[in-house]
């Protein structure tokens, strides 16, 4: 072969090589990017999808041949093309990889692979198995072509986003009509202390829907297991409750433990008004004047009110001292310790035993008395300083008066001497 032919041959090889490389890329993506509307939408977000980033092609889920740019070959039945999978097939489709331990190990060994098994125990899974295609499947929560890892703040299943995702169906009255369950869960949750922690403080550990209901195995906890769920965080309250008379009583009435007083979704920040015998008290839902429970509720409520009053008093005097310019940061810090006793007392309510509440209240009152004394001491010091100031101001005034008199007498003498000198010189 002469030089010229060799040159052209190299060029041809290069072109073929490039096109071969090009053909090795995801042809589905390249073609669909040039279309419009619904056929283009998946390609817009594919760059952010974790599957796309790991090198999977469209054919991985949709079947077909991603290496050819010939549409007939690419989307042929022979090549295994499925098109848009039916909803009822989606869980198994995802599980083809995600339940395969050996396969997942090659991408992310720490990911769980039991999602399908869990899903099958969930209400969504059971309904889907019974033929209801309205039930949620993988793509409803994880999105379709922009699936991000849960740790990514933009993911639909990031802890701060989970509630929104569940609400997409569970708030929709029309969609949920057939299931005869309420659709106020999200609204209730938004009024709760848990939501406040999550949304306002960005606390990733705050409970969201999946924390109590599970994510893949989502189902409401049974009446008997509600307490178990709450006690994963609220240990003390659960322990105290277990030792209290309410445990047996609630079980007998088939009342779910924590929910009976605090509700399940609308768990508002609890107030002292919920306890006792006044308006807004939850105890009055079951107890009435004359029964033992009523008396105990009144006692506990009174105990706590007393501690609050003691704390308010010492807060007031410390504020007064601070406003007069006294340094009371130390007692204020100790006041924080006293406040902790108030928190402990409110936890001890769950024993429904006034003695337990009174114990902690007494310790709190002792600390509050100490800080009150510190406040009084600060005010006494302030008065001492003002008295000292008054005394030194008086001595200063005396000196000023004396100086003025001395000056006057000196200057009078000098003037007299000057007059004498003048008279002499005349």
């Amino acid at each position: 072969m002469n030089m010229q032919v060799r040159c052209w041959f190299t060029v041809l090889l290069a072109i073929l090589g490039c096109s071969a490389f090009a053909l090795a890329a995801d042809q589905c993506l390249l073609c669909h990017q040039m279309l419009e509307g619904k056929l283009k939408t998946p390609t817009d977000t594919w760059a952010e999808d974790i599957h796309g980033q790991k090198g999977l092609t469209c054919a991985a889920c949709h079947g077909g041949d991603a290496n050819t740019d010939d549409m007939m070959k690419a989307m042929s039945r022979a090549a295994g093309f499925v098109g848009k999978p039916a909803r009822s097939r989606i869980p198994r489709l995802c599980a083809r990889c995600h339940s395969d331990g050996a396969f997942m190990r090659e991408y992310n060994p720490s990911l769980r692979t039991d999602q399908l098994a869990q899903y099958r125990t969930s209400v969504h899974g059971k309904r889907l198995a019974a033929g209801d295609t309205k039930a949620a499947v993988c793509s409803d929560c994880h999105s379709v072509h922009e699936i991000r890892p849960a740790s990514n703040p933009l993911s639909t299943v990031h802890p701060l986003k989970v509630a929104e995702t569940c609400a997409r169906c569970h708030v929709n009255g029309e969609y949920m009509k057939a299931y005869k369950i309420p659709t106020d869960q999200f609204a209730g949750y938004q009024a709760s202390a848990h939501y406040a922690a999550m949304a306002n403080r960005g606390d990733l550990s705050a409970p969201t829907c999946s924390t109590c209901h599970g994510n893949h195995g989502a189902a409401p906890p049974g009446v008997a297991s509600v307490e178990n769920v709450c006690s994963t965080c609220h240990v003390f309250q659960a322990q105290l409750f277990d030792e209290s008379p309410h445990k047996k009583a609630f079980a007998a009435m088939n009342l779910a433990a924590c929910i009976a007083c605090h509700s399940n979704h609308r768990i508002v920040p609890p107030t002292d008004a919920m306890l006792g015998t006044g308006p807004g008290s939850i105890c009055l839902n079951c107890h009435a004047e004359g029964d033992a429970g009523y008396a105990k509720a009144a006692q506990m409520s009174q105990s706590i009110a007393e501690l609050e009053k003691a704390l308010a008093n010492s807060d007031a005097i410390l504020d007064r001292a601070e406003r007069s310019g006294m340094e009371v940061s130390q007692p204020k810090l100790e006041q924080g310790e006293a406040r902790e006793n108030l928190i402990k007392a409110r936890v001890n309510i769950h024993s429904f035993d006034p003695a337990k509440v009174a114990e902690v209240v007494a310790a709190g009152k002792k600390l509050a008395a100490k800080t009150y004394r510190a406040g009084r001491e600060a005010l006494r010091e302030r008065d001492f300083r003002r008295k000292g100031l008054a005394i030194s101001l008086i001595t200063i005034l005396v000196v000023l008066f004396g100086l003025r008199m001395k000056l006057r007498s000196i200057e009078a003498r000098q003037a007299a001497q000057a007059d004498e000198a003048n008279k002499d010189s005349l």
């Binding site: 000292g388 001595t395 008199m405």
Partner: protein
């Protein structure tokens, strides 16, 4: 100066007025100096409460803690947790939980540091291992000085 008066009487009046001024001025100045010097001198006498909230504090006594137990001590204005491990060595951490600032405690049964408020768990290196706490506990250096267990804040950057 109006009517002429007896020179001797005038002389003595002037003298007594001068004495009066001298007394007033003298005692006033002495009193004012005392009222300035007294606070300054009193200030120089060191107070009995010697603690200063510095970066070192004596957290306890070597005989105080059994193995596998813990105690809360005051570190300046914040609480600290001193633990004695099974092997007899000591560790010290800030006792303020990194979740919502409750005071943590040592759980001998679990050999972990536990926060009662929301069941947060820290291991014996202060690392948050379970529950809501987002960060480990601040750790301190522990030295033994004779019988005293001395806890010291680690050097700031």
């Amino acid at each position: 100066m109006t009517m002429p008066s007896h020179p001797v009487a005038e002389e003595s009046r002037a003298k007594s007025r001068r004495r009066f001024i001298q007394v007033v001025l003298g005692s006033g100045i002495v009193a004012s100096i005392v009222s300035f010097l007294y606070p300054a001198l009193r200030y120089m006498i060191p107070p009995t409460t010697g603690e200063l909230g510095s970066d070192t504090v004596v957290a306890g006594n070597a005989k105080e803690l059994r193995a596998n137990s813990g105690k809360i001590f005051k570190f300046g204005s914040k609480p600290g947790l001193l633990i004695r491990l099974r092997d007899g060595s000591y560790r010290a951490f800030s006792a303020t939980c990194t979740h919502l600032n409750c005071n943590v405690q040592y759980r001998a049964d679990m050999q972990r540091i536990w926060c009662a408020c929301h069941n947060g768990m820290f291991d014996l290196n202060g690392r948050n291992v379970s529950g809501p706490p987002p960060r480990p506990l601040e750790d301190y250096a522990v030295h033994l000085r004779g019988e005293d267990i001395v806890v010291q804040r680690k050097k700031a950057g």
